[in-house]
Every structure is written in structure tokens, then in C-alpha cells.
């Protein structure tokens, strides 16, 4: 996988996560078969320390489920997750707890992810208490350090506040501080800025950027390709529970190979009004991941699809036109 010698911090192979969908009362009475959403359907990727990987895709593509499976926050139905050499897939919740210290998550909505009854200081101290770290004064030093890392300076100004006294950007910084206080190795950021105002987004992303530079592995989930292109080292594009294209961020953005990636990139609005282009709009909506098409899962919407695409489920491989050796796409036409 990784071309460079150092072993990846996180190595995911063939990850599968499905969950049952409710048939409703009528469905159950009619004895309809139990349906399952194939949220994650064979996802493989790796992530090194000091690297930021962006999982991008439309809602329902399985990017959030992938992140949650990696942290074992939802049950997985197959595949392997190696975290720093430890296999996570078979571990009991009890055995996972010490590892949770090393992998943290920042959620999308800072208005929901902080307990409204906890002061900022208590929110950030909680992870330390949970894992029994340090004395009271050591913990309070760690809280201050985390607040500073998240750019909430001076810390005294913030520790005694309640979430409702803070702006969205400040809340997200508190959530980040709480995820950093244990010095984790892996940080999962699930749409960390999509609920925030445009003017404060860059500040939040700059923190993640800097943490990455200091050796943290960051898995960022986002639907915003511009953000991914700007901050991530690598981009993995997901469609219906699979990664369909993966590679260095600039390579994926400037030299996209998979027809889905191309379409997706073409509809991202450009900032400069003089650069109006004709977007390549895919018709219809993403099919649900209950009935995944046979063959290439993208073929019903694909402009390049040929007869063979209905039969062959393509694997990720290096496309002919790729200029970077780490660039891979799952399409038989490229």
C-alpha cells in the first residue's frame, strides 16, 4: 500500500458494515424479506502518522459509517482494522477502552456535541477523568494546554463558560480541545466545519492542518471537495460503500480518472465568476445502498459505461493516465 517504508498507523482492509432497515409495520405483516443497508461494502485504505486523508462523497456513500467502523463505534460485519499493529475488529468493548485514548473523534455539529450542562473546562477534562490520567492539578494544566492548542487563548477566558455562551466556531474548538487532551495518535474529523460560518471555517481547518504537521494522523470526512483539495494529503472518493478513486489530493483533483470523480469535481462551483464551466450533471439520485447494482456499482449513471461494466465489479488499480504511482481508480475504462 504505502510506498514509503514506515508502517501505517491505520490499515483498513475489506471493511464491511451493514445494518438492517426497518420494514415498517406493513412490510413486516407482508413478511417482506429483511433488508440491509450495505453502508460500507469492502473499503480498504491506510493512514500514516502526520497524514490527512479525506474521505469524500455524497450523503449515503458510507463515509461516516466507515469512520465510525474504524473507531468501532458501530458493529462491523467483516474486514480488518489494524491500529498501530493491533487488530481492532475482534476486540471486546472492554479491551477497546484503553485504545480509545489514542483515537478520538470530532463531530459535525458543535451545537449538539457538547453537553450543555458541562462547563468548557469539565468537557475537556472528562477524557482525562475517564482514563484516570494525572492529578487534579496536572489535569488542569492539560486542559489549559488543549485549549491553547485549539486556539482558545487565553484559556482562563473559556474554562468556566457553558457551551451556549460560545459561538459555533468556539464550540468546535472546544470539541477539538477535548479530543486532543489525551494526546491521541488518530483524529477522525466528521465534517468538522460544515455547520460553521464560512468566515471561521479556515481557522478550524488550520488547527487540524497544524496538528497533522505535528504528527497526528487525521481522517477527515467531508462532502466538500474544495476543502478536501485544500487541506488533505490524500483524497479517497466513495460511492455506494466503496472507494472508487484514491490518490494524492492534487492528483485526484487535477487529474481525476474515475467518471464519478470527474462528474463530482465538475459540479463544484468555482469561486471566480469568470470561470463558469458547464457542469457534468449526473441524472437521478444516488441509488440507495440496499440494492447495490451488479457489476460496477456506478454503471447505471456512468457516461462511459459499456456492456462489460454490468458484469465486472472493478478493483482499485492504477489507471493508465495516472501521473502519480499512488493514484488508483476502480474503473475498467481508465
Amino acid at each position: 500500500m504505502s510506498t514509503n517504508g514506515s508502517a501505517p498507523l491505520l490499515q483498513v482492509e475489506g471493511l464491511v458494515a451493514r445494518y438492517p432497515v426497518s420494514r415498517g409495520v406493513v412490510g413486516a405483516l407482508r413478511r417482506e424479506p429483511k433488508l440491509r443497508v450495505h453502508a460500507v461494502d469492502g473499503v480498504s485504505f491506510s493512514l500514516r502518522r502526520g497524514e490527512m486523508l479525506a474521505l469524500v462523497g455524497e450523503s449515503g456513500c458510507g463515509k461516516t459509517s466507515t469512520a465510525q467502523s474504524v473507531l468501532r463505534l458501530i458493529d462491523i460485519d467483516g474486514g480488518s482494522i489494524q491500529f498501530d499493529g493491533t487488530e481492532l475488529s475482534g476486540l471486546s468493548p472492554r479491551a477497546l477502552r484503553p485504545l480509545r485514548r489514542r483515537m478520538q473523534i470530532v463531530y459535525q455539529d458543535p451545537y449538539e456535541s457538547l453537553d450543555p450542562r458541562f462547563r468548557v473546562g469539565a468537557t475537556i477534562e472528562e477524557p482525562l477523568q475517564v482514563h484516570g490520567v494525572g492529578s487534579r492539578s496536572e489535569r488542569s494544566d492539560e486542559v489549559r494546554r488543549a485549549l491553547e492548542l485549539a486556539g482558545l487563548t487565553p484559556p482562563e477566558l473559556y474554562v468556566d463558560r457553558y457551551p451556549h455562551e460560545l459561538s459555533g466556531g468556539q464550540r468546535q474548538r472546544v470539541a477539538i480541545a477535548a479530543s486532543l487532551v489525551l494526546h491521541p495518535d488518530l483524529l477522525v474529523a466528521d465534517e468538522p466545519v460544515s455547520m460553521l460560518d464560512v468566515s471561521v471555517r479556515a481557522g478550524i481547518l488550520a488547527i487540524l492542518d497544524e496538528l497533522r504537521d505535528n504528527g497526528l494522523a487525521v481522517l477527515m470526512i467531508t462532502h466538500d471537495l474544495s476543502t478536501a483539495a485544500h487541506y488533505a494529503d490524500r483524497i479517497a472518493v466513495m460511492y455506494l460503500g466503496r472507494i472508487v478513486e484514491e490518490g494524492p489530493a492534487h492528483e485526484v483533483v487535477e487529474n481525476p480518472q474515475h467518471p464519478y470523480t470527474r462528474a463530482l469535481l465538475s459540479v463544484v462551483p468555482k469561486r471566480d465568476p469568470r470561470e463558469r464551466s458547464t457542469p457534468q450533471i449526473l441524472r437521478g439520485e444516488t441509488p440507495n445502498s440496499i440494492h447495490i447494482p451488479v457489476g460496477c456499482r456506478f454503471h447505471p449513471r456512468c457516461p462511459l459505461a459499456i456492456e462489460e461494466c454490468k458484469a465486472v465489479d472493478p478493483e482499485l488499480r492504477r489507471p493508465a493516465a495516472a501521473t502519480d504511482p499512488a493514484h488508483r481508480a476502480a474503473c475498467i475504462r481508465v
Binding site: 485514548r101 453537553d115 450542562r117 487563548t153 463558560r161 497544524e210
Partner: protein, 318 residues
């Protein structure tokens, strides 16, 4: 640490004034007259109960004059069928009624809160079993059960408290269960779980504090129910014979033929006391619950009528 990051956040505005916790009981009490009146009534009775040792230097049942003596200056509410002073009997009754009310409500809240919390938090089989039990308890008719239980286990005050408590916990359990189910799904609870917090911590640090105000509101409502139940049990002659409660007073006046003697003052005042206390705690509990139970909150329909107002300095030009 880059200056860009630091500068960005430092200036992100700490303009907001510090304020207290959201959704507090205090705000409800001072925001709604109904809650304030209810609380005042309950508080007045509690005050009387607390100060009762001052008035009750001797046994309130002591005969101080002729039976069924009319109200007078020295005995404002007259004497009962045993020649005891009604005011002192009522004060003594306040103590017992409040004790039974609060203790039974506490028992109810404890059982109901625990069942609701466990049921809502753990879900699955725990939920199914606990809710099935709750359903069974709900369908048992309460008054006959009280009568049977009082007859079976004896007529002590403790037994009455336990019986009332064991009958009334079901609504609490269901209310708390529903609330816990929604709180459990909140992102901050998920976040705490993701960072490795165990069930004990999640329940007692994140979930319980969030449902506590609702539990308190519900308990206040239960106090009213319990006081009423105690009065009823005592009136039926199934109360603790060694203590004086409002229900006992009413029962006594019936057995002493107060009605034949036209001694209204032995029946009406205890009845008024029960009514007032039940009303007070219902008013208080109901307004708390209205404010705190998200299921009861109803959005106000906008009539879409806004006001137009003149703009300063623009008047002259028009």
C-alpha cells in the same frame, strides 16, 4: 502554534455575557405565576409542619372542652367529637400528610426513575422486560390494591408509604424512559462513549442530569397524588391508627356523627387542607413539567401580523 490560528480564535469574540445553565427549574418558578403560586402553597404547609412543635406542646388529642364545641376565639376551628382542638389536630395532620406525600412520592420516583433510566438507556431485552412489568402494574386497579395491601401487611405509616409508592411509579417510568431514549442518542453522549466513557459515567454524568428536572417535576405531581391517596386510605379506616392525618380527621368526624351534630368545622377544614395542598403541588408540578417535558411543548402559530413603524427623520419627507 501559528499566529494565524491563535489570532483567529482569540478574536473570535468573547463578547457574550456569562449566564447560568439553560433549562433550569429556577427560571420556570420565577417565570410563571402558576408555578410560583403552587410553590407558595406547598411551602406554606411545609412551614406549618416544620413549626408544629411550637404549637403542639401537648398531645393534640387532649380533651380541652366539650365535644363539638363551636368555633370561638380561643378555639378558632372549634373542637372535635373528642373535645380536642381542631387547629392543633390539623397542624398535627399536616405533618403526617406531608410526610406520607413526600416519602411516597420519593419511593415512586426512585422506582420509576430507576426503571425508566435502565429501560431507556439499555434498551433491547431490558427495555422489553421492564416495560412489560410496568404495563402489568398500570392495569392493576390502585384503590382495591391499597385496601388489600393495607389489610394484608398491617396499617403502619411505613406500609402506607410503601404501598402508595409501589403503585404510582409507572407513569414516572414511562416518562423518564422516553426522555432517556432521546438523550442517549444525542451527539454529546455518543462523543463521551467514543472517548471511552463507561455506562456508569454516561448515565450519571450525562443522561441523569439531563432528565433530572423532569423527574423532579414529575415527583412534585406524585406528591399530590400520594397525599390524596393517603387521605383516601385513612378515610376508609385503613390508615395507621396511631397517627393523626387529615384523612383520619375526616374519618373520625364521620364515626363521631359530626354531621348529625352539624359540626361542619370538623369536616370542612381537613378537606380544604387536602384540596389546597394537592392543588398547590399539582400547579407547581404541572408548570414544571410543561416547561421541561419536550413532548408537551407546542409551537405557537404565528398570526403573521407584524407592526409597521415610522423611521426617525423620515417622517417629514413623507
Amino acid at each position: 502554534m501559528s499566529t494565524a490560528v491563535q489570532g483567529a480564535a482569540a478574536a473570535e469574540g468573547v463578547d457574550v455575557a456569562k449566564s447560568g445553565r439553560p433549562g433550569s427549574i429556577r427560571r420556570v418558578v420565577f417565570g410563571e405565576p402558576q408555578a410560583l403560586i403552587g410553590l407558595a402553597i406547598v411551602a406554606a404547609f411545609i412551614l406549618v409542619a416544620l413549626l408544629s412543635p411550637l404549637f403542639l406542646s401537648q398531645d393534640p388529642k387532649t380533651k380541652v372542652g366539650p365535644i363539638f364545641e363551636h368555633p370561638s376565639v380561643s378555639h378558632p376551628l372549634g373542637l372535635d367529637g373528642g373535645g380536642a382542638d381542631m387547629v392543633r389536630l390539623l397542624i398535627a395532620g399536616t405533618r403526617v400528610s406531608l410526610l406520607v406525600g413526600f416519602a411516597a412520592a420519593f419511593v415512586s420516583a426512585l422506582i420509576g426513575g430507576t426503571v425508566g433510566l435502565a429501560s431507556g438507556y439499555f434498551g433491547g431485552k431490558t427495555d422489553i422486560v421492564l416495560m412489560r412489568i410496568t404495563d402489568y402494574v398500570i392495569v392493576i386497579p390502585d384503590i382495591p390494591l391499597m385496601i388489600v395491601a393495607a389489610a394484608l401487611f398491617g396499617r403502619s405509616l411505613t406500609n402506607i408509604i410503601l404501598i402508595i409508592g409501589v403503585i404510582y411509579w409507572t407513569s414516572t417510568a414511562r416518562l423518564i424512559r422516553a426522555q432517556v431514549k432521546s438523550v442517549r442518542e444525542r451527539v454529546y453522549v455518543k462523543r463521551a462513549r467514543a472517548l471511552g466513557a463507561g455506562n456508569t459515567r454516561l448515565i450519571f454524568k450525562h443522561v441523569l442530569p439531563q432528565v433530572m428536572p423532569l423527574l423532579i417535576a414529575n415527583t412534585v405531581l406524585l406528591v399530590a397524588l400520594a397525599i390524596f391517596a393517603e387521605t383516601f386510605i385513612s378515610f376508609l379506616g385503613l390508615g395507621d391508627p396511631s397517627v393523626i392525618s387529615w384523612g383520619r380527621l375526616i374519618e373520625n368526624s364521620f364515626t363521631d356523627d359530626a354531621i348529625l351534630n352539624n359540626a361542619w368545622w370538623t369536616i370542612v377544614p381537613p378537606g380544604v387542607c387536602v384540596t389546597l395542598l394537592v392543588l398547590g403541588s399539582t400547579m407547581f408540578g404541572q408548570s414544571l413539567e410543561d416547561a421541561l417535558n419536550p413532548r408537551l411543548r407546542v409551537g405557537h402559530l404565528s398570526v403573521r401580523r407584524f407592526r409597521m413603524r415610522p423611521l426617525k427623520g423620515k417622517l417629514e419627507s413623507e
